[in-house]
């Protein structure tokens, strides 16, 4: 199945093999070390008083009684921390005209959402800190909450944050021109208004941070459940005025992140200040209730969209209007506008039409901030496009497969660009469609559907083609002024016993980053994989790098590891050649043994080379250089993004009396370029699909008209559970990127990108006999019964 890996594609290559994760046993045995597990001497615990109001002015804070409670070491307000920490603003320079109110760890005068942290208590135990929180009296003066996106945009509307002049955070337009005329002349025009609910990440491990300020050295060490240790080293350094080299951020084992753990949270920034004030380690772990009101949320879009189609079913144009509500601030440092921006740029991306117009409005309101979460913007662009494609197919009298075969970009048409400006190197939409059709036995399912309809059983089949953005270059954040690296670095060294240590800047949150890096290093260096130890997540030891987000771990981190391993291998062979009095070009390193490249005859072990290098350098020729450690950095330089593609199919059965949907089966054919580890790619795709199906049927942060979250617990916020999830069949096409030697793109977001769209199309397909349709996710029983006219 693998595409050849050039000259180094060997029979026993680790690249392309389903290698089990070396860290799985440790985690299963309970030997994981999460931030929650850490206990430092003299450690204290923080708890926060949170605003019960969606929008209010802080009139007075009386913490006298709390300060006198048992075990309490410190009660800190916004004013206390504002003297230590400079404010931050969640905008990026290349988002022209974007605005957002300045933020501090704790607010000075105004609270902007229900659940915002207002006062911090530090005590000997978390329970004591919570007791003291209950004893704090805060006098609030209610301000009008902004909770509705339409009201928020009216002129003279109440403002979600008094520090900005209106509720428009950002707006953007794309227009290829002449859209009105194309729509006026089109044989068919389909249009729909779509609603996408807010949801949130619900990581198994909640957010957690432990800050330790050593005043004797002026050194801050932060154990932080984050994806991006270097980003936080920079932020803690700059906002607290501590030299960068004196800030160490350690990300130990992380229990899931999905993008949620790379944003600045007010509590986390506060904990740094609390540790400085207490001069003792301070730990804060968000509990589940706090997670719901303080972790970033995502989505929350209302999209009006239409598609113009000619008589034979060719798509001519799309016209899109997206309004998204983000909270009262834009998140920092990546902003809350990236999702909307990606929504309008990814619309229609798999298809060949050239005419496009889009309008984006990013709106403030008094709710938790939204920001980047797995498959940023993709599910929305995909659901809107794919639903319109199905509606257009019906109008043109085409089957959904035929409609896509007609309109998907031909596999021979690359390189090409989307009407929104994305440049595609090489994608495989047509091959993926053909593969999916066979994999799911599409024709068989259609025949079964017709037969069952006659017996009152209503099944639906939905398809959704997608494009996924991965491996962003500096054009993504760097250009906007954010100190978020697009490059990665690795330090590789050979130990005196001939083992390999790889310190790398990409990080592990459960997806298997360390596994694939180990595979690549073992493969490209020429050692057995068990000899490679991969170390991640510590700014004090690993080189600087962007870490793991936007599916860049394999594509950028993997290429970094590959190039580093090749350089180290050259060093090893040069040294071995000096020892053996051979020429480096005649030698090769295989499974930890230096061999004769042609015959494969063993010459000397890597362990022996290392022993000589470290302990008997006196025996080396005078000009031999024993460089058994190297550091290497790599940044993408070709295409600004490595796009991946694929298509999903969903098969559902709708109970038209209860509105419940049974998801019968789900299929994905995806093309992430070179597959390093098929097992891990399949797991990523399946996990992503489950999150997409969660969004399609279950997950929604529900607010009342006053801006109060009404389902902020795992009893009321429904995450997808194994019992409701179908079997997920995954097929692969491999189109490696030519920008790197490795050829890998990303795969972590592909599942999430299109699962909800496929489900939406499947449910609509099931409702065809009733003349009903739905354009809102999650598709709850209430919404489906309403669509069916049952209630």
């Amino acid at each position: 199945m693998n595409a050849p890996l050039g000259s180094l594609d060997r029979p026993n290559s680790y690249i392309g093999r389903s290698v089990a994760r070396p860290n799985a046993k440790r985690l299963l045995a309970g030997r994981g070390r999460y931030v929650t597990d850490l206990a430092l001497p003299r450690m204290l615990h923080a708890a926060f008083l949170r605003s019960p109001y969606a929008h209010a002015r802080i009139v007075a804070i009386d913490a006298e009684a709390a300060r006198a409670m048992p075990g309490v070491r410190l009660v800190a307000t916004g004013a206390d921390l504002a003297t230590l920490c400079t404010p931050w603003v969640g905008t990026l320079d290349h988002f022209t005209g974007m605005k957002s109110a300045p933020q501090l760890p704790l607010p000075l005068e105004e609270v902007l959402w229900a659940g915002q942290a207002v006062v911090a208590v530090v005590a000997d135990t978390r329970a004591q800190a919570e007791d003291a929180v209950e004893a704090i009296l805060v006098e609030f003066e209610d301000l009008p909450p902004v909770a509705d996106i339409d009201i928020a945009r009216e002129s003279g509307a109440d403002r979600a944050a008094l520090a900005v002049e209106d509720n428009l955070c950002f707006r953007s337009r794309l227009d290829t021109g002449g859209i009105e005329a194309i729509f006026a002349g089109a044989t068919h025009v389909v249009e729909e208004e779509f609603h996408f609910g807010r949801h949130t990440a619900v990581t198994l491990e909640p957010r957690a941070i432990l800050a330790d300020w050593d005043a004797s050295e002026g050194k801050l060490t932060v154990h932080h459940a984050t994806q991006t240790p270097y980003q936080f080293q920079d932020l803690y350094s700059r906002h607290y005025g501590i030299p960068e080299a004196s800030v160490r951020v350690i990300a130990p084992d992380i229990g899931g992140s999905f993008g949620m753990k790379l944003h600045v949270y007010h509590e986390d920034m506060a904990v740094i200040g609390l540790a400085l004030l207490c001069r003792r380690p301070v730990k804060y772990v968000a509990d589940r209730m706090e997670s719901f009101v303080s972790d970033i949320h995502a989505r929350d879009h209302r999209v009006r969209a239409r598609m113009a189609v000619d008589g034979d079913g060719s798509i001519l144009a799309m016209d899109v209007d997206d309004v998204t509500a983000i909270g009262a601030f834009s998140a920092y440092p990546r902003t809350s506008a990236v999702e909307g921006n990606q929504v309008i740029r990814l619309m229609g991306a798999p298809y060949g039409f050239r005419n496009y117009r889009a309008e984006l409005a990013v709106v403030f309101q008094n709710k938790v901030q939204t920001s980047q979460y797995r498959a940023v913007g993709h599910p929305i662009a995909c659901a809107v496009t794919e639903r319109l494609v199905d509606m257009a197919a019906t109008r043109a009298g085409l089957d959904p497969v035929a409609m896509r075969a007609k309109n998907l970009i031909p596999d021979e048409a690359y390189p090409c660009a989307s009407p929104t400006g994305y440049r595609f190197e090489a994608l495989s939409h047509q091959a993926s469609l053909a593969r999916l059709k066979a994999l799911m036995d599409y024709d068989g399912l259609r025949a079964e559907q017709a037969a069952l309809r006659a017996c009152g059983v209503h099944r639906g089949i939905g398809l959704a083609a997608f494009v996924e953005i991965s491996n962003p270059s500096p054009a993504f954040y760097g250009i906007g002024g954010a100190r978020i690296s697009a490059q990665d670095g690795a330090t590789l060294s050979i130990t005196p016993s001939g083992e390999v240590r790889c310190l790398i800047s990409v990080t592990e949150q459960g997806q298997g980053t360390e596994t694939i890096i180990g595979q690549i290093v073992a493969d490209q260096l020429g050692v057995v994989r068990e000899k490679v130890r991969v170390i991640t997540g510590d700014t004090e030891t690993t080189p600087h790098g962007g870490a793991t987000w936007a599916c860049r771990g394999a594509g950028i981190g993997g290429e970094t590891a590959l190039q580093a391993a090749r350089r180290l291998r050259d060093n090893v062979l040069a040294l071995a050649a000096a020892i053996l009095q051979a020429r480096p070009g005649e030698l090769d390193l295989r499974d930890g043994i230096v061999v004769d490249a042609l015959s494969g005859a063993e010459r000397v072990s890597l362990a022996e080379v290392a022993r000589i290098a470290y302990f008997r350098s006196d025996t080396l020729p005078p000009d031999a250089s024993a460089q058994l450690s190297i550091t290497h950095h790599y940044a993408p330089q070709g295409y600004p993004f490595a796009f991946t593609n694929g298509i999903q199919g969903c098969h559902v059965e709708l109970d038209v009396d209860t509105g419940l949907v049974k998801i019968l089966k789900h299929w994905v054919v995806e093309d992430c370029g070179r597959i390093i580890n098929p097992l891990l790619v399949d797991e990523q795709v399946r996990g992503g699909v489950v999150q997409g199906l969660g969004a399609a049927f279950f997950e929604e942060c529900r607010y009342d008209a006053g801006g109060q979250l009404t389902n902020g617990s795992l009893a009321d916020y429904l995450v997808p559970m194994a019992g409701e999830m179908p079997d997920i069949v995954v097929g692969h096409i491999e189109t490696p990127t030519a920008d790197t030697v490795l050829g890998a793109k990303g795969c972590g977001e592909a599942g999430t990108a299109a699962a909800a769209a496929a489900a939406l199309n499947a449910v609509n397909d099931a409702m065809v006999p009733f003349g009903a349709s739905i354009a809102q996710i999650p598709m709850t029983p209430a919404r489906l019964l309403k669509s069916l006219g049952k209630i």
Binding site: T125, R126, A127, E130, D131, E134, D287, M289, D657, T658, L660, F698, R702, D704, T710, N711, A715, L718, M721, G723, E724, T780, P781, A782, L785, K790, I791
Partner: protein
């Protein structure tokens, strides 16, 4: 969140438990399986100064049949409703409902007494007490009394239990051969509290319904009987017409409250769908038996 600090007492007898409660002057709570109480403590929704663990009181245990009644000690676990042979034979509705109550870990600890004493209107077991015409044995300072299930559930989380009283046992008239029962519920995910649930016990000595017990969960402030629907079935053969009449009558029985996610009309609709399906299932059983 962490629970507030509390005292913990583990009495060995009912008398000691009652005394420990009285001593706390109202600021105490009994704890049985802890599956509802512990979450409430952890969320600081409740913060009694004293917890009285009744889990070691022998008199509150035991499953036995006496004089046509099945006696279930209050400490009988959910998992026993699921597995115990005496319950399967004599109180089949409990066995039918048990798989729908939470998940195995919770069923291993949760007690029937705790579930019925709490009287969550969305819970399965309290509603089954109504469907089975059970009686609830209460013990307090004044002694012991038995209250019919119909009189036990009074309002949202309000029962015939006075403060400090213990639910000692559940008494269920043993199932008779001429009785047929069915249970089902509509939930968005397996193991969740249901959008609506229903247990039915029909007494049909011959081919007509002589007595009907229909109990719903999650449709109002308490578990609810459906007297109008029951009346629609009495004296009738269980056929499509009777089923339709019972479904229609539900509008007189149920007046579901406003709830953000599930509008009242939807709950009534689902209750009708569920009732129709359950009665249809019984109709099929009767047809098969004939």
């Amino acid at each position: 969140m962490k629970a507030r600090a509390f005292d913990y007492i583990r009495p060995a007898t009912v008398a000691e438990a009652l005394a420990a409660f009285a001593e706390a002057e109202g600021d105490a709570s009994y704890i049985a399986g802890g599956q509802s109480l512990i979450p409430a403590l952890a969320l600081r929704l409740q913060a009694p100064a004293r917890l009285i663990d009744i889990g070691h009181i022998a008199a509150l245990r035991g499953i036995a049949v006496e004089d046509g009644w099945l006696r279930l000690g209050a400490l009988t676990r959910h998992v026993e409703a699921h597995d115990h042979p005496l319950i399967a034979v004599h109180a089949p509705l409990l066995a039918l409902a048990a798989p729908y109550v939470a998940h195995p870990a919770i069923r291993n600890r949760g007690t029937l007494g705790g579930s019925v004493a709490l009287a969550d209107p969305a819970s399965e077991f309290p509603a089954m007490m109504l469907a089975m015409a059970a009686e609830i044995e209460i013990v307090g300072a004044e002694g012991t009394r038995r209250v019919p299930a119909d009189a036990f559930f009074q309002d949202l989380y309000q029962t015939a239990l006075e403060p400090g009283e213990l639910l000692a046992a559940l008494h269920i008239p043993v199932a008779r051969p001429e009785q047929r029962c069915a249970f089902d519920e509509i939930a968005r995910r397996r193991g969740d509290y249901a959008l609506v649930g229903c247990g039915i016990r029909l007494t049909m000595p011959r081919d007509r319904v002589e007595e009907a017990h229909i109990a719903f969960l999650a449709v109002g402030p308490t578990p609810m009987r459906a007297p109008a629907a029951e009346a629609a079935l009495i004296g009738a053969r269980l056929d499509a017409e009777a089923i339709r009449r019972a479904q229609a009558a539900l509008a007189r029985d149920l007046d579901p409250p406003e709830d953000g996610e599930v509008p009242p009309a939807m709950r009534l609709h689902l209750a009708r769908v569920l009732l129709g399906r359950l009665l249809g299932r019984l109709q099929d059983q009767i047809a098969e038996a004939a």
